[in-house]
Structure formats: C-alpha cells, structure tokens
Amino acid sequence: MTKHKVDPITLSVVRGVLETTQREMTLTLEQTARSSVFNLAHDYSTALFNHTPEMILQGQDIPIHLGSLIPAMKSVARYFEGEIHDGDLILHNDPSYGGSHLIDTCMYMPVFHEGELVFWTVCKGHLTDIGGPVPAGYNPNATEIYAEGLRIPPLKIWDRGKPRHDVLNMILMNMRARRDQEGDFNALIGACQVGARNLTNLMKKYGKQTVLDCIDALLDMAEAHMRKLIAEVPDGTYSGTAVLEDAGHGFGDFDITATVTITGDNCHIEVSSPPQIPYFINSYEGNSHSGVYLGLMMFAQLPPPYNEGLYRCVTTDMGPMGTLCNARSPAPHMNCTTTPMETLTDAVRLAFEQAAPQKVSASWGHANGCNIAGWDKRHDEEYVTMVLASIISGAGATSSQDGWHAVGPECCFGALTSGDIEMLEHSYPIIIHRYSLMEDSGGAGKFRGGSGTCWEVEPMDGPMTLVTFGDGRRIPAMGAAGARSAMVRPKVGRLEVTRDGETQVITENVIETIQPGQRAANHNPGGGGYGNPFERAVEKVVEDVRNGLVSLEGARLDYGVVITDRETLTVDHDATARLRDA
C-alpha cells in the first residue's frame, strides 16, 4: 500500500498523535487569547511543518489561512537559512514574505531534537490591531500598504531562548489596545510551545527516524488521494469567471478568471485578474493560494487531516506580478482575505463546476462586515475589534440539502464562531439590538441557500468609529445547477445607518461615526441555491414561509408558489402550477 517501509500500525498511531498535538495547540490559542477575533471568533490557524519545510498537518481551522501558511513558512525558513537555532522564535506578518494580510500575525517555533532542526510549530491569528492610521487595520482610503499597518518581515523575538524585549516593545508600541495584543502574542507563543512539547515526546517514544518516515508516508498518501480525485476528472481545460463588484473604489467591476487544466492526475490552475489598483483589495501571492485551494477543496470535499501532500499534484500561476491576484508591494491589501479572495474562490469553483458537475455546490455568501473602535469609559481605555458576528453569511446549497444558515462567509467555510452577544457587550461598550436570520436572504433553488444574518449595533455612551469592508452588496452569492433568484435585493448585503429616524443604506466600504442613540445594522448575504427553484417541493416552501425564512412575495417570485392566506398558509395549487409551468 505504501512505498515507505513503515509499519502501517505505527503510521496510524503517529497520525493520531499529530492530530492531537494540533488540537491542543488550537485549544491553547482559543482559551487564552485576549482579542475576541481570536478567542470568540476562531480567526486563527495552527500547523506543523517538517524541516524541509513542508506542511505535515494543518488544523481544521480557517480556510483563509489554508494556503498562505505554506509559502509563508518557506519564506521565513529561507530568510533565516543557516541561522536557525534551538530556542529561537520568529514573528512575521508581511505579505511580501508569503503572509496573507498584515493583521494576520504568524509565530514560528523551530523544534530541535538532539541538536538538529526537525520540525516547526506555527500559528497564525488575526489581531485586533496592527497600527496604522485606521483602527483594526482596514483602511478603505489606503493607496499603499504603508497606510495599513506595521509591516513585520521575518523577525526573531527570541534568540536562542532569550526574549528580545526591546524588539517586542517596539512592535507593541505601534499597536492600539496594547494589552490585548500582548496577550495574543502570549497565546500564540503558548500554542507553539504546546506543539513543540508534544512533538519532542513523540520522537522520544518512537525515535526520530520512525516518526519522519511515518510523516513522509502520510504526505505521500495525501498526494495519492488527491491524484486519484483529479484523475477522475476528464482531461481538458475548464474555465470560470466571477465578477468582483466595485465596492467603492470607482474603477468599476472586474472579472477574475480561473483556468483549470487537468492532465492525467495533475492539475494546473491559472488565474487571470486586472492590474492592481490603489485600493485595499489587492491580494499578494500567498493569500491567493488560499483562495485557489478553497475552490479546490470545494471540489475535493476531503475529510481531515490535511497536509501539503494534497497539493503536490497542483501547480498554480497567479498571473503576472502587479495584478490584483498577484500584487506587488506597495499595493494596499488589507481586505484581501475576503475581497477578492472569495471571488477568486468562486472562479475556481466555477471552473470545477464544468470539470466535475456531479460534485458541485453553490457559492456561499461573501463577507460584508465591519470593524468598530472607540473609547471605553468603563475602564478608561481604547477599544478596537473586528466584529465577526457582522460577517456571518449563509452557506451555499449542495446537491443533497439546503445551505446551512449563518455559517459563512465563504472564506471561512463555517470555521468561525461569532461570539456570544453578552460577551461582546461585556468586552466593548456597545448594545447589540439584533443578531438574527433574514427573510428571503437565502438564494432560491430546488435546495435553498442558507440565510444570512443581520447584526445591529448602537454605541453605549460615546461615539463609535465603524469601518466597513468586503463585498456581496450588489451581486448575490452564485447559485449552482440552474438556481436563480428573482428577488435579489434581500439576498445581498448592505449597511443601514439610522440617525434621527432616517435610514441611510450604504453599499460601499466606508468609515462612519455612530453616536449613542443611532444604530448601524449590517446585513450579510445569504448563500446560493442549488437547482431550479420551481422544482422545490411546495411543502418545503410553505415550511420556509411558516418559519419566516421566505416571504409570501418570495414564495411567489422565487419559487412560483402562490399562498393565499398568511395565517393558514393555504396554497393555491392551480395558480402555482400556472406560474411554475410558465
């Protein structure tokens, strides 16, 4: 079965220990981090690498980080080649070195055994702030990366076991809400240590060589698995184009095209995007890997565990340097993990929809969220955070079921958690008036897309800065297999700001100040539907109406179902048949 001379039983055991190690690293991050983005929202990832460095295990964490940790780790190892010592600890965030966006900060700990570098334990997490002119990093007015936050190239914060307090202090001096950032650094370091401890024990128990042989075998097995899936797809070239909506930069909509070429058990994915723009939606190469890999995983639908062997048969070309999906410094980029990543994922998914139509599922709602900042009078300190509850969109429907409600956005694929509203109100001086599903927001289809959510906030006792990011405010989540929605407006996102009884609808990325007594309601898109909505069983439509997920108007327009009585939900079957046959 396996090429390596490893005992198949030991192999299963080693795999179990690696998964347990990763789980314990994740748990440490989740339980100890300060920022709600980490600990309530799970916007972090942990991974193990061998010395090559090749990723030997990725957690089931967030897909945004799926691909970018791989080039980032390689870049960091290359930078310090020949200077990596036991007791070092490396910090990094810059996208020129394979990072995703500046606010995602990575910690790398080399693991030595008997004087030799054997492994790396790595974690990455979304901090609440990274310095720069706009709290929480998302600056829609940035025309260069320098206006988005502090750039950290690979940097040793421990040198042979000795912490470099001066260096760390300089970094923290440049960040808002220092206490939270410092706590989050500690959490990242704690997680790396937990990982290193477990890997060291594993080598003590089974011997270094046995462990390394097992890991090689695991990488080979993952490779073989992906090759088998690719080989099932007919050879050929398939392409998908998704439209990236203009979210306020004024350059108009853009096309992003992915071309997938299958040759035997190899897959090449080529991305074509317009030239980079002076707006924060450019994606550097590392981040684009994540977008491409997510589209690939939507096709492969693999269960865990995940390692880099999966991608050995996959080559990528993100297009020429200086384009939207292969940006060059100093392109501004902060929004990249959601926009354009989700559109890039859609393009790859569409290409695979042609290649393997039997495995297609619909697109998920894109992230369309906000960050908040202000002064917390209760403790006389500044607060700043990304609000994950504000980006929870609907999942796409699949060929077997309706999309899940409220597990998006697409770039996170259910890995986030939005945090308890009482804990958010405890941590920040805000009042959350609404966190709910939304009528008619799920894309229409034989299987309906999941509902998006609405998150409505009011500052408690002082002005609050609210910064929006993302897209999906004009173009709804793409359906699959012939799904289409007649009512588009409730299916896309928007920000509604209500001041003195007047409601303003905002569909661009903006910075707004909200006063006590005023409210901002952020609506997130639903997921795409699957199949012809006129084929959806009438009883299911009635059930959705009963549950307030579809309105009477939505039932008629989207599903061709005519309900004559709101109370009894009586269906006019003749009228329904006429509509559906038309």
């Binding site: 039983i9 299963s12 401890r197 693999l302 929870i392 998006g408 694929f413 308890d420 408690m460 307030g548």
Partner: protein, 697 residues
Amino acid sequence: MHNQYRLGIDAGGTFTDFILADRKGDVRIFKALSTPNDPTQAIRNGLAVIEEETGLSPTEIISNADLCINGTTVGLNALITHNGAKTGLIATRGHEDSIEIRLGHKEDGYRYDPDYPPATMLVPRYLRRGVSERVLSNGTVHTPLNEDDVRDACSHFLREGVSSVAISFVWSVLRPEHELRAAEIVREMMPDVRLTVGSQLYPQVREYTRTSTAVVNAYLAPILQRYVEKVDAYFRELGARHPVRYFQSNGGLALGRVVSDQSVYAINSGPASAPQAALWLGEPWGMRDIITVDMGGTSFDITLTRDGRANVSKDIDFLRYRIGIPMIQVETLGAGGGSIGWIDSMGLMQMGPQSAGSEPGPACYGRGGEKPTTTDANLVLGYLNPEGLVGGRLPLDAAKAREAIRTHLADPLGISVEKAAYGMFTIVNNNMVNAIRRVSVERGYDPRDFVLNCAGGATAAHITALAREMGTRQILISKLASGLCAFGQILSDVKYNYMAPVAARLEGADSAARLDALFDGLESRGRSDLRDDGFTDDQISIRRSLDMRYVGQVHECTVGIDAFEVTEEALERLKAAFHARHEELYTYSEPHSAVEVVNVESAITGAVDKPGRMTLPPGRGAATARIDTRQMIFSPDGRAQATPVYDGALLGAGDNISGPAVIQEVTTTIVIEPGWTARLDPNGAYLITTDDSASAA
C-alpha cells in the same frame, strides 16, 4: 444509610442494571431488559428477578430501602430521537435566532462535507417569539417589558398546541425582573404548560448558552415529569418510606421534583457516577487521582478525579446542543467491543467510530456480522475465551473473526491476520489514549500521575495495554467492574448547584465583600434546600468554583476552592490559585495582569451513608485457580506464546498473578500483559502494578 438495603436502578439502552447492597457489604448485581415505552415495567421485571434469586419480595426490599434511580435514557432518548415536547421560546426581540445561528459555526471535521446536515431545531423558528424588552450589560433597563408582546406569544403558542415554554432574555442574569414578569403572564395564560426560565435554571453570563440550556430543559421537562411521577407512584405503592432519588449528570442525586423541573441535569448521567465509584475503590489505598475508563459495545467513556474531585465541564455541546450547567466531564469516544476496523481513503487502518453494535455484532458472534471488530481482534489474540463470554452463554467463532480480519484488513495491508489483529488492538488503544488526553493533558494534568480504574465489561482486556501506552503504573479493577456505574450511584450524595454571575475585578475590599455576600446567599439557599430534604448541618458540605480570567480574555478558567470568608486578603489566595491553574493549563501565567471573575457557583452536597465493603476470604495461592493455558499474542510481530488462564471466582484475598496471564471473571476478562502483576485485595478489587514499580515500592 437509613435502611437495611440500598437499591440502585440504572436504566440503560439495552439493559436495566439493579444493584442491591446491604449494610454488611454484600453487593449483588441483577439485570433485566430495558422497556423504553414503560420504564416501570423493567423495574417490575428486575424486582421479580431479585425475588427469584434472593427470596426477597419487592415489598420487603422497597419498604426497607434507600432508592436511587438513573433514568438517564428517558431524557437522552427524547433528545436523540427529537421526540421531546412541542416547545415555544420567548426571547428578547432581535435575538430569537441565537439557537439557530449557533454562533455561526459548523462543527470541525465536516468543513467540506456537502451532506452534513445542520442540527435539528428543538424549537423551530415559528415557535420562537421575540418580545420588546432589553436590559443592558450594566444591569440597567434600556427598554421595559412589553407585556402585550408576551400575551401575543402565549396566544400563538396556545393556537399551536405548545406544551412547554422557555423564557430567555438578554442579560436577564443581571436583572431577572422581565423574565419573572413574563413567566407570571405565561402561567396565567397557559396554566398547564411546563415553564423554564433562563435566569433561574442557569444564572450565568452568555446568552446563547443560557437560552440553549433553557430550551433543552423545556424540551425534556414534560417527558421527565411523566417518568418521575410514574416511578414515584409505583414505589409509594410498594411501601417506600423515603422519597426516590434520581441521579444527575453533576454526579449527585436529587429529588424527583427537582429533576422534573431541571431535567437538563438528567441527560448524560449514565457515566457520571464513575468518579464516585473510583474514589470509593481507591480509598483503602488513599488513591485520589484516578482516571476511570469504561468500554462498552459501542463507546468508551472517560472520567477523571484529581485530589478526590471529579473534573466538571460547563458550557459544552452535547448531541449538538449547547448546555451550560456543570456536568461531570465525560469524554466519549466511538471505541467499543463492536468498533469496526477499516481502511480509510488515504489507505490507513482506522478503528471505529462505526460499530457493529449488538446486532449483527462482531463477526465472531456468528450473527451475520462480516466486519472485523475489536472483539474479533481480542479473540484472535487469544485474550477472550473461545468457548464464550458471560460464562459461556455467548459462544464465539474464531474462524469467522479471522476471516473478517483477513478480508478487510490483513490482505489489503499485506500483513498477517495476527499482525493485523494486534494492529487493531494497538490502534483502538491509541485512540483511547488520545481521548484520555482530553480529560487529563487538556485539563493540565499528566496522566502518568493517575491510577487507571476499569469499568464496563470490555475494558479489562485493554487495561494493561492502555496503562503501558499512557505510562500509568497502577490499575484498579473491581469484581463489580461491569456494573461499576450503577454501583457508583448508590454511593453518591445528594448534590445541587447554585450559580450567579459577578463580573468583578479581583481588587479591593468592595469586590471581596460582594463575592462573600454572593457565596453566602447561594449557600444559605443550598443549606435550606438540603435541610428540607432531611439533611443535618454536619452532613452538608460546600465546594465553590469561580470562572476567572485575565481582564481582556474571553474564556474563563474554572478554579475550584473550599468555602472560606472572602476578605480583601483572601483575594490574593484566589488570584494565586488562578495564576497557577492558568500556567498548568496553558504553559504560562501573567502574575502582573488584572484578574476578573465572571461567574461563581457553589455545589452543595448532602452526604449519604455508604454501604459496607466486601470481605473476601484469603486465597490459597494463584496456582489453585489456574484452569487453562491458551496461545496469546502480546507483541506487534504477531507471535503467540502459551499463557495461563485463571478463574477469578477461585482466587482469594492476597493471591498474586504475574503477566502474561488472563483472569476470567463472569462478566469480564482481565488481560495482564508481561511485566504486570495483579493482586486481589480482600475488598474485591485487583490492584495491578508494573513490575518495576512493585520492586521500587
């Protein structure tokens, strides 16, 4: 023990276990088939079995017994099959959907699975009604309760035929008035429904957890109420002189009316009595750090006690529903005797979680099962008696076991059947060891510091291998191991949990005084409830826990302490305990950072007298109990060696058996690997130690 007998009844999925103990230490186990449709029928049948075997009539026993019942499956089955009451939820307007949004998360392990379904809603959206009201995070009222909204919700529920209602408002824990007023209105308009009020059931911060806990409770309450009323009435008829007590997932007993009001406490109580039994078993040796593992047909349950106290979990997902109340931490793994060995899409051998169950069961049962299971591996390894389990009542077919292993595992992997069988054994053991880390390492404990205690019928075949993998040096196996949980229930005390939110930084005399007053309030309520139940002050004990964290953190770590007056100086003690716990759990602490408390809880226990201990006569040497020699495999190369087999019933106190060996008890088979020695204690438990630890001692 007020009475001559103590009778424990544990209604499991297949069997209902009966444990009858008397004052002198005589303990006997009886079994009857469970009758899920009429739970009292199984009790009737069990009492008939007892009468047949002991000559004691039901009236004779019941009129002279303390009664402890575990009805766990009644609530559990309703939750698994989604067969609870038609329930309505009244929530703060704008927050009706929190139980369906579920924090926006899809469970790990299913990230790219297109077929994994969302959790079934216990209260569908059309039965969730928002009302206008709002309390803020500082406890002030932002919007007063609109009573007409509550009335409208009730009218809607009446039209829909709702039989149970949950009320849960945002920040009701800081100011419960709105919930309480809404409850009055519901009682007026719907006098016949069961009512669950979030701030009363689970007064802790976190809206989603509280609402979800209230919903699960409301969903199960009518079911539990019917059950309790029926059981209580049945025993009253038989002349019971004391009220029946019911076992809860917090590890303690409770009166029937408490369980039917707080039914959520009853749902995972099955394995929750294991820690109690473990401590009782370990007491003669002074053992207080014990991990108990219980392997049944399909699952493997793990519990842990540290310094004489069981791990407690709060705020967990159980069967995909968030439940806040403190429960004995039970880590469950799909690994049992029936767990199936298979080769995954990557080409790796895996064990479970799929199980052959009892029908068709393992291949060696010869009932049509063709997949290789843990039991088949144990048979091929020579551990199990080929003549059959349960004293020969269940014969085993070794040829079928070998065939299943060959076809599905050995041939595809290109290894021998013996190697594959040992591999299955190794993988299932390692799965268990990884799961044991969840109650130990993830709680900051080193499993090597613990005694491993064996419960359930299938566990003992794995126990020395597990101990070896974990690095544990001492193992306890009671002769009652197969019914250990039922036994644990009759040893358990009455226990209630009282909770309150705090949100205070641990600084200054004011915050100390607030905490002290809070604990005082909770504990005086607790004492009075237990006094009403007939307990005296000297039987009542208190254990406090505080959910603490560094300011800015969002997850708390729970620190347990004994009751003492909370003064400003005492705050330092609390903080020190927190720093130490944080470091134990996460490798670091921040002694200079501010610490805050979010929630507090007092567990109030009313001690119940314990039954006496078994006394075995001294043995006449292990050789007299040796009944057979079998070929057994103890190494990865699959080579067999001749291994002695002992009959446990012929062993006496003080007898020693060195591995490799197997001891056959009627309901369990103990495998002793080379390097381990078992010694039978007069109290009916085997203590098994590694030879190096024995020589060190």
